[in-house]
Symmetry: D2
Subunit: 348 residues, 4 copies
C-alpha cells in the first residue's frame, strides 16, 4: 500500500501515522519528494485498512497495490478453475451453454423449450421459479411448483438445471431441486445471500451488478469463496449505460479483464446485456471470441405469451441457428461443449 | 400506452395484436401515418404489460404514458406525505436531520457523538449494527449488542433512531430497537427485503441504488407501499459516475424530479454521495436549496479509529458548523426542524 | 411523431397545438384515452421540430417515430455501403485492417512499423501528424513534416494512409497527403469540422465520441453525408464508463446496433477502447465476431519511446500474432481483406 | 510520481527503468515490499511522462502525485481569481448572472428578453449567433447579423454580452462584438479552438464536456491559460447520465471539487443540466448554495417559437421569480451581484 501525504502535513502528524503503521506490524518506508512525501508499506498489507489510513490527518490518498480479494485472485490459484455442474464442465476450455425461458411457466412449455435447446447443443437448462421483478404487480414466479417442473424437465432431457435464489429462507428448498444456484445482478451485493450460498457446495452462477466494477464482482465472489464454496462461475450481463439503444451496455472486455485477474470461469449473457433479440447473436459470438467460458441465452417458444422478459427471448429456431454458429466458433477457438447423458429419452 | 408498429408489419399481424388488446378489455385506436402506424390504447392500461406487447411480431416499440407506480405517484396522493418517526416529522416542510456514525462501535463513543449532534440541531440518530460490507474480511457490525446501544443512547438524548436492515430473518429483532428502518442502496432492489419491511408499520428510509433511475427508486417504494406500509422516506445518496473526483455522483436534481412525480419525502445523503468530508457541507446546503426534506450525515469523533467509512465522516465540530448554516438556510426556505423531548437528560 | 399531452391540458391549448400542426402541412390524429390524450402526426414529420412541439403549453412529451437522420439510414440505402480507400475496400464483406503508431515520429520508425504490419496483413496505415492532446505541454505532432513521412512510407509499402484532421484551416494541406481523413472522438460533434470534411470527396473515418449515443454518431455522419461526401466509415472506440479497469468501455453491441440502423460500415478500435495491450486481442476478435467491417490497432516497435499513447500500443510481434487470429476468424465469417499493390517494394 | 512494478519484474528491467529516470534528472527512490516493489520519484515530475513510464516492461501502474495542470491549480494561485467582463465581476464573492435566449432570433425579441432579465437582476446577456446543432438540418444561427443584434441590445440595456465561438476562422469577427467568448461543451476538447481563444485577452466561459472529468475540464482551462489568457470562467452544465429523467446529470459537487483544486471561478447552467424548466429553479439555487460564482439560464418569451432549445427555456416571469430567490440566497451567502450602467436607457 502507498500513502500519499498532503503537502502541508506536519512532522507530528507524520510521526502519529508511522506509529500506527508499526503498531499493526508493518514497516513504513518514507520517501520525501520535492513536492510530496509518500510512505510505502512493507509487509502483509491485509493487516491494515486503506479506509482507516485515509482518515488520518495529513493523508491525501492511499493507493492499494494488491487487489482486495485473495481467494478469487490468480495469485491464489494460477490455473483456470473448472466448475462441474452435475457433469457439465465450465471453465478451462469447457463451455457452459445455458438456455431456457426467463421463468418456468408450465411443464408443457418447459418440455418444448428444453427439447429444442438440447437438440441445438445447449448443455444446461435455466428457468426462474422465484422471480425478482421491479414491479410488485408483476408475475413473481411459480415458487416450489416451478422448481419441481424444472427438475423433472431437466432430468428428462439430460440437462442439469440453473435457477435463481432470492431469499435466504428458501435456500434449503431450492437446493433440493437445482444443480446450480443463480445470484442475480440486483443481488450481487446482497451480502447476506452471498454468505448463505457460500455455505453450500452447490455451484453458483454470480451475475455482475449493473454498476459493479470488476473488482466489486470479484469481491462478491470472494464472499462465496471465503465461506467455503469454490464452485463459482461469473457472468457478464451488461452494465448501466447512457444509451437507450440497448437495455444495458455489454462490457465484453470484462471477460478478458477477469482472465487477467482471476481463475474463476466467466460466461456472458447477451439476452440481458442487450434486451434486443436481433443483437443477441452478434454479442454471443463476440463473447466467445473474447474468451468467455459459456453463453447464457433466454429462449421462449412464444415470446408474446411469456410471463416475463418476452421481448428479449430468442425463438427456438433462432437459438438453433446461433448455436450452430457458436459451435463453429468454439471449434476454431479449441473449446469443447460437454453434455451429460439423457436419463429418460437418450436415444443411445 | 402507445404501440409503434414496424414499417413492414402486415395486416394479419395487426389483426392479431388488436384482438389481444381487446381481449384484455382495452380499446385500440389505430392511426395510420405516412411512414408508420401507431396504436393508442384507451382504458386502464395497467391491465396490459408493455413487455408482452413488445413481444408481438411487428411491434417496434411501446411507449407507456402513465408511470409504472401508482401508490407512490402524485396522482394517488397529490399532497406531500409527512412521515412521523416517533415524533420527528419528515416532509411537508419538516426536515429530518439524521446524524451519527456509520457503525455503532461502543456505547461511550455513541454517547459522545449523540450528545454533540443533538446539541448542533440533529433530530434523528443513525448507527449501523448489521453492516453490509463489500469485503467479507471487514468489520460486519456488533449485531444485537449494537442495536441495544443505539436504543439506549437515542433515548438518553431524545433522538429517535435509524438503523439498517439487511436480512429478512433479523427483522423482528431489529424492530424491537429502532424507530426507522433503513434499506441500503445495495438492497434497493432486494424485493424480498422490500416486501418484508412493507409488512411492518415502521417508517422506512429507502436509499437510491447506485444505478437506479428515479422510476426504479419509486418502483421500489411502491413495493413497500403495496404491502401496506405508507411511511416511506426516499434518500438520494449519489449514483455511479465516471469521475473519481467524488465517490459517487450526487444527483441533486433528483430531489426536484421526485417532487414532480411523488408525494413521498426525499432527503439527501452527501456523506455517501461525495465520500469526501470537504465537499459534504456544499452538497448538504445544495440539497436543502433544491428542496430536500432532510439531510443524512455521518459524524464520527475520531475518523481514524472508525471501524467503517471513517474517511467520509465529519468531525462533531464540523457538523456543528454545517448544522448552523443548514438552520439558517432552512429558515430562509420556510422549513422547520422538529425535535422530540429528551427522556433522560432533558435539562428543562 | 406522437405527442403526449398533460392530463390537465385544456381545450384552448389543444386547439392551439392542432392549428400549429396543420399550419406546417401535417394532419393531427387525436386519441382521447381514459387517462391521457395523444396526438399522432400523419405526413412528413421532418417538417416539424420535436423540440418546438415540446415547448407548447400542455405538452408532456414528444416521441419521434422516425430516426433523426435520413441519408445515413437503412431506409435511404438498404444495402451496405462499401467505402473505397484508394483501392482498399471497407464494408459489404470487406475488412479494413488499420494499423500504425499513434503519432508519426520519424521516417525510420514509420518504415519499420509499416513493413511489419503490412507483412502481418494490415491493409491501411495510420499515423497522426496533428495530435489532439489533453495537455498543452504534450507533444502535438510533427505537422506537415509528419504528413510527408506518412505519405512516403504508405506508398513504399502499398498501404493507403489515414491521418487525423483537427483544424479546418489545415484541411487543404492534409488532403494533399492522405487517402482517408480521421475525425477523432473529441471532435465528433465539432460540426464546423464535420461540414468541412463533408465538402471533400475523401473517405472519412468518424470515431464515436466518448459519450455519444448511436443516434448522436449517426447524426454526425449525417452532417458529412448532407454536405455531399458519402464515403464515411464509423468507428466504435469505447465510451465513458464507471470502471477504471479499462480506459473506456468497449461497446461491442454498437456494431450490431448500427447494422440495424444504417448502411455505413463500422470498424472497431480496441486500442483506445481498452487502453491495455493485454486486452486488445480479445476485443479485436470480439469486434470481428460481432460483425465489424475492420479493426483499428495502434502498433509501435518501442512503446517506451513512443511520443504518445505508448502504453496502449501492441508490439509488431503481438500484432502479427493477432492478425493471424483475425485472418482465421475472417475466413470463418466469410469476410475478405483486400490489399493494394506495393508501388515501390512489391516483390511480385 | 509513484511507479508500481509488476511482481515478476526482473533486475535488468528495474535497472533499465532507473537509468531512464535518472537520465531526465529525477532521483528514483526504490522500496522493495513483501509483495511488490515501488519507485517514488523525487524532483520535478513534470519532466517525465506517466504514459511513457507505463510503457516500460515490468511497470504495472504509475500514480501521479501532482495534478496535470499547473496554471489552473491552487498551488499556482492560492487566491480565487476574479474575472472582469466589461465591468461585471465573476468570482471571489461576485456572481455572474447570465440570462438570455439560446439563439439570437431577432432584434425585437432580443430587446424584450434583455429588458426583462435586466430588470430581474441579470448582469450579463447571452445569445448564440453561431449555433452548434446536432442536426445539419436545424437552424444554425444568424451569424454576423446575430452578433450585431446582440451587441446593440446589450449596450442598450447595460448588459455585457456572451456568445459562443465554434470556428477559429470566425474569431476575429466574433471578437468585434462580444465581451465574453463561450466555448461550448462539445468543443471543450477542441484543442485548436482552445489555443486560439487563449491567444486573445477576452474573458472565456468554458463549459464542461458531457463526459469530462474535473481534471479534463481543468486541463482544457490550462490550454487557454498556457497561451496567455487568464480570464477563464468554468461552467458546470451537467454530464452524461443513465437516467432520462433529466437531459443531463447536474454534478453540483463539481462546484465544490473545483474550489479545492483551482482558483478559477465556476458557474452553473441548470438549463442545459436538466433540460426541464420545472427543475431549473431548484438546481439554480442548489448551485449557488454549493458555492457557484454565478448562474447561466436560458430565457425566452415564447418557447414554442424558439428556433432552438425552446423546451428548456424559462419564461421571463419565471426567471424574475427565480432571480428574486437567488438574490435572497446570495445575500445569505454574502455574495454580491455587480451591474454595469445602462448606456442608452438608464433611467437615472
Amino acid at each position: 500500500m502507498i500513502i500519499i501525504l498532503k503537502s502541508d502535513i506536519d512532522e507530528v502528524q507524520i510521526k502519529h501515522l508511522l506509529e500506527h503503521i508499526e503498531s499493526v506490524g508493518l514497516q513504513p518506508h518514507l520517501s520525501r519528494g520535492t513536492y510530496r512525501t509518500i510512505i510505502g508499506l512493507i509487509g502483509d498489507e491485509t493487516e491494515i485498512s486503506a479506509d482507516r489510513l485515509r482518515s488520518f490527518p495529513g493523508v491525501q490518498d492511499v493507493v492499494p497495490v494488491l487487489p482486495p480479494y485473495k481467494l478469487a485472485s490468480l495469485q491464489a490459484h494460477p490455473q483456470p478453475s473448472v466448475v462441474d455442474v452435475s457433469g457439465v464442465l465450465i471453465g478451462g476450455g469447457h463451455l457452459g451453454m445455458i438456455a431456457g425461458p426467463c421463468a418456468v411457466e408450465s411443464e408443457d412449455r418447459m418440455n418444448t423449450i428444453a427439447a429444442s435447446v438440447k437438440q441445438s447443443g445447449a448443455n444446461l437448462l435455466r428457468g426462474g421459479a422465484y422471480k425478482p421483478r421491479s414491479s410488485p404487480y408483476s408475475f413473481q414466479g411459480l415458487g416450489e411448483e416451478g422448481l419441481k417442473i424444472l427438475r423433472r424437465v431437466g432430468d428428462r432431457h439430460g440437462l442439469p438445471v440453473v435457477t435463481e435464489i432470492t431469499d435466504p429462507r428458501n435456500l434449503d428448498q431450492v437446493l433440493q431441486y437445482t444443480d446450480m444456484l443463480q445470484v442475480g445482478a440486483r443481488n450481487m451485493q446482497n451480502f447476506v445471500l452471498l454468505s448463505e450460498v457460500g455455505r453450500t457446495s452447490t455451484p453458483v452462477l454470480l451475475k455482475r451488478g449493473m454498476s459493479a466494477t470488476i473488482d466489486d464482482l470479484l469481491m462478491s465472489a470472494e464472499y462465496i469463496l471465503a465461506k467455503g464454496n469454490s464452485q463459482v462461475v461469473l457472468c457478464e450481463r451488461g452494465v448501466k449505460g447512457f444509451d437507450n439503444a440497448t437495455r444495458n451496455l455489454f462490457d465484453v472486455a470484462a471477460v478478458a479483464s477477469v482472465r487477467h485477474l482471476s481463475h474463476l470461469p466467466i460466461i456472458v449473457d447477451p439476452s440481458h446485456a442487450t434486451g434486443r433479440p436481433e443483437l443477441i447473436p452478434a454479442c454471443a459470438l463476440a463473447g466467445l471470441a473474447a474468451g468467455a467460458d459459456g453463453v447464457h441465452i433466454e429462449v421462449h417458444d412464444c415470446p408474446e405469451e411469456a410471463m416475463s422478459d418476452g421481448p428479449q427471448a430468442l425463438l427456438p429456431d433462432q437459438y438453433a441457428e446461433l448455436a450452430g454458429q457458436m459451435s463453429q466458433l468454439a471449434k476454431l477457438l479449441g473449446k469443447t461443449i460437454s453434455q451429460v447423458g439423457n436419463a429418460a429419452g437418450d436415444p443411445a
